[in-house]
Point group: D2
Chain length 345, copies 4
């Protein structure tokens, strides 16, 4: 059985990566490939890396163009997905790489996005407790943000096992593809190379409420998140450094108990690799793969647990997570079409 898929927003970084993965997915046939301002151009002129589809001409994104596919991937600016969802009907699996349906709390949506809340779809992070059950058979998937993917997988076992207090500090470095293909001066190569700088400091980043939501659900209590994203001089990758104060009983139980919690949470996860003691995650090691590297350390002097994860923001952080969730939803083998090994060095 072959699944026929469409990709809307194919001229952006997320759309391009989705196509790269789908091209090597043995159960998929690529149908409509659409864009907005690049419609009419060849894919090869916009995504020169997609040699296999170089001569394909980009269609114009519209409900009509997307109709008639088994699966539609939306890689669009936020605010546009709801309309397509209405028009496409419930027989089509819609995998939304945008933010529209991630949040459960309408107030959080309105505060951070300034528009009306569109709703909430099953959340495409299969590693979260209960997520696979919810995704299986669903025809709507909200793909997590790239930072929430990295941070949630770094922290949730600690919250699930009640090892840490509900007050988390996260500093994450992202490659500049995370900012998308927008033409802004501070994203120019000459300004990015050699530069580390933060943005959205003090709680302003739109992924903050998604982090709060994920960790609070797992912890069973309200978790606060001090989140500082930084832009790093690399094309791809997120390194998330997270920490929280250890609860006294966890501090007393010692590092082995913490490790045990992580080892058991990730024992059967194909894409999460808890590294052996002493080895630390690196964004380079997961480049182009759907693998998440995780490592933890207890700092006895500061009384904190430090959890670090590395993902490729475009693969596991976006397009890979999307394809993985599609596989789960359709009942396909979860690893299908998803590289596990990074392109390194």
């Amino acid at each position: 059985m072959t699944v026929r898929v469409a990709v809307a927003g194919a001229s952006g970084y997320a759309g391009g990566e989705t196509l790269r993965l789908l091209l090597s997915h043995p159960g998929v046939e690529i149908g409509a490939v659409t864009a907005h301002s690049s419609a009419g151009r060849t894919l090869g002129s916009v995504q020169p890396q997609l040699a296999e589809l170089a001569d394909r001409v980009l269609g114009k994104t519209s409900a009509a163009a997307l109709r008639g596919h088994d699966v539609v991937f939306l890689a669009l600016p936020h605010g546009q997905s709801a309309a397509y969802a209405r028009e496409l009907g419930s027989e089509t699996l819609i995998v939304d790489c945008g933010a529209d349906f991630r949040l459960r709390d309408p107030a959080a949506w309105e505060r951070f996005y300034g528009s009306e809340h569109a709703g909430t779809w099953p959340y495409g992070l299969p590693e979260l407790p209960g997520a696979r059950e919810e995704l299986k058979g669903s025809t709507r998937i909200a793909v997590p943000g790239c930072y929430p993917t990295a941070v949630t997988l770094a922290l949730f076992p600690a919250h699930a096992a009640r090892l840490v207090e509900p007050e988390v500090v996260v500093v994450a470095a992202s490659g500049t593809s995370g900012a998308g293909r927008a033409l802004e001066s501070h994203l120019l190569g000459a300004e990015v190379m050699g530069s580390m700088s933060p943005y959205g400091v003090g709680g302003g980043h739109r992924h903050t409420p998604e982090l709060v939501q994920n960790l609070s659900l797992v912890a069973g209590e309200r978790v606060t998140v001090s989140f500082t994203p930084t832009l790093a001089p690399m094309p791809r990758g997120i390194l998330a450094t997270c920490s929280a104060r250890l609860r006294p009983e966890a501090l007393a139980a010692g590092p082995d108990a913490v490790r045990e919690a992580y080892a058991s949470a990730y024992a059967d996860e194909p894409f999460v690799r808890l590294l052996p003691p002493g080895q630390w995650p690196s964004t380079a090691a997961v480049l182009g793969s759907n693998t998440v590297q995780v490592q933890i350390a207890v700092d006895p002097d500061a009384g904190r647990l430090v959890c670090v994860s590395a993902v490729d923001n475009l693969t596991k952080g976006t397009a890979g997570g999307a394809v993985q969730s599609m596989n789960v939803a359709l009942g396909l083998p979860e690893r299908l079409g998803l590289p596990m090994n990074g392109v390194t060095p």
Copy 2:
């Protein structure tokens, strides 16, 4: 039918990339994975990107360890392959990523490598005229050097069609993985980033005689090559800028005739992409793929043809070329296990 392969030199960059490709090759089972000073360590500690084989312990490279496989990939320092070839016997396909069996002229070998010439094996560049016939069924393959792969594919159609004079100028930029994993001060990240610098200037690079050999064979006359390699601040990729004076009749025939020669040379090549007019090769666009991007321009004022190619030095330039040649030798579909789409941005 599954082919059982061994990889010797698995702790280096070429060995790691070979394993990455073989892990996604549907016709291959990975047997021995060996190294020299890293023997006894896990592959995950040496090649952290190879999540699927992370717990595999590296064996010690030896003829005994490599024996009993259908295919043996050698990613060793030059000078070591001949001994393994003798011990492994002719029933094993040996794919040598090293230099030992690339050159036909013993004098050239001795001049550039300072040791006795080991011999000449079928040359693993299937795109060269006659190469597939020679590789098919062979049990010995000499994988081309990374620069010769890029340069030969940029230039050979021009020489084959006698469009240019036999005097070529090549300036090529390589990512620093091309220098291997040697611990040298000038390869440190702090010195590499922000730096472009040449080396082996004036004909001293060991790939020079291989370039002369390839182009002279195709041209049917002695071709001189002024070759300047440069180190570029990127992990991977080669951009080869090559030029030669156009013969008067080619200059008179005009750019379309040149393009026609390239289009016909590469019409059926799965991995060579002659870009549409106006689009130029980029190393980023072929990252992690076996694709070669090629583009040409006629400079009427200077009377020269400029030919540019981009390859990933570790994929098409080494490990990908090796796997592609293995596929040809074994009669497997040539594209098996080889990504065509780059990991970009």
Copy 3:
């Protein structure tokens, strides 16, 4: 009056940067320039950027070679400074870029460095309260570590004004020159580019006790520091992202009160630039300069103050801080020989 200076350890990154600054210092004459294994080579072959001193031959580091100078800069591995200090006598100003005399607590030294404590010298961070008085006329200076420079300047006004609780979380990204010129596989360009990764996680980094010391002194109480350094794909620069819970009264007082504390702490500091609201520090903007960029934000949801600073680890973080402290000690204008403007883009 011209001061005659010697630089020991001139083949390393800190020594090279010290020479670069001294060469443009109008009150300085460069005397002995020494190294260990590079002794006998020209400076131009080891530090090709120092065009003005390219033909100078490196001497062998020894007390005899360093004697007879007004100022001696030591850029040596830790553990070697005490012996030179004894031999040079108290009439020579010794500016130690190493760690030996930074810590006041012998137990902290022994725990993190594993050897006997050599003593404590005046601390070369003139911006700290009381530091200029201590440095003035001193003939011994312990130059701070690069991370402690960045972190202390990001945080101390908050601690001095008792705005935050004594429990700090720091995640800092450093360019790879911070690791020095050591030949280690993970510092190779091919492995560094595209890679963010942490090290010394969980309190293990040797700069941790120095951070605790600085902040505790200013706060007047024991401050704990959860410090995670990360290696970023750039040659130079540190971005330090620091946060602490705001005390209830500071949270009530609001962001303006916090900004006021910083503005007043840095009002007369030539090298610290508190950025205007909305602008964030960037390592690129301080490249090659002695300037520190600082910015702060209050996160009301998380109840934390986030303080971010950017420095060039080799300039303000090492050699610039050393020259600045020398200027203070000798009574020279503090800005002499120190660039304030970065080399950007």
Copy 4:
């Protein structure tokens, strides 16, 4: 005596670098600092590296704003300088970083720029034979293009001494600041990092006629130039790899004679450093400095001379060359305000 200078186009990369150099020039006072669309913003928000002038508000570029200064630096898009030159009068020294007055041949200007030729001003490359005499006392200076600076200094001694034939091949790699601050997709950091790619291939780059002009003047005969510029993943720097066939008598005379020609051409040049044999130029080694590194090699097999130079495209390649030429024109010491040592690593 202090010279009062204005800088027009201060929001771009060339304007920013000009200000950085002028701020450390002891004979200069900075007057008007103007821009086009950034007028009204603080310099610190546009050029965050210029800490010393951060609070200065950018004026609007106009003849009125620039009038009344001793020196006016123009860092404007081409086509705008002539109007300012007319309005400012001949008592003001105008240093034009743009292209308008570089070419002598109106036909070449019209072919490459598509507009009417404005004229020709003294050429700001003091190292060229006769250039200092022409610049001294002049009130108009055309600053060379960045590539022509690098290439001309790599090649002219060979042409002046008639060592090579008048047919040159140049491949040059430039950091992306060379493309200016234009918002174009292919200049985004995510697309630039990891990427080497050529542009303007086949003679189309606007610096080609300037190269032909410079080399032809020195050679005393028409020199053809096959020029391929490439974009390299670094913020700054140009590495120019140039070669030409050696004339038979030069080939016979041997490498020492070639070296002698270069050594004598550059014996008294403060900013050109002919490297010792065996050492090769690196863009990192000249970062932020006005130094040019040059090295040469004879390739006996190819019969060619290979000449390589490294410059910082924004310093010696633009703003440094401009300040150096101003110094010559005004009779100031030529090195004033110009760093000779690079910011490395």
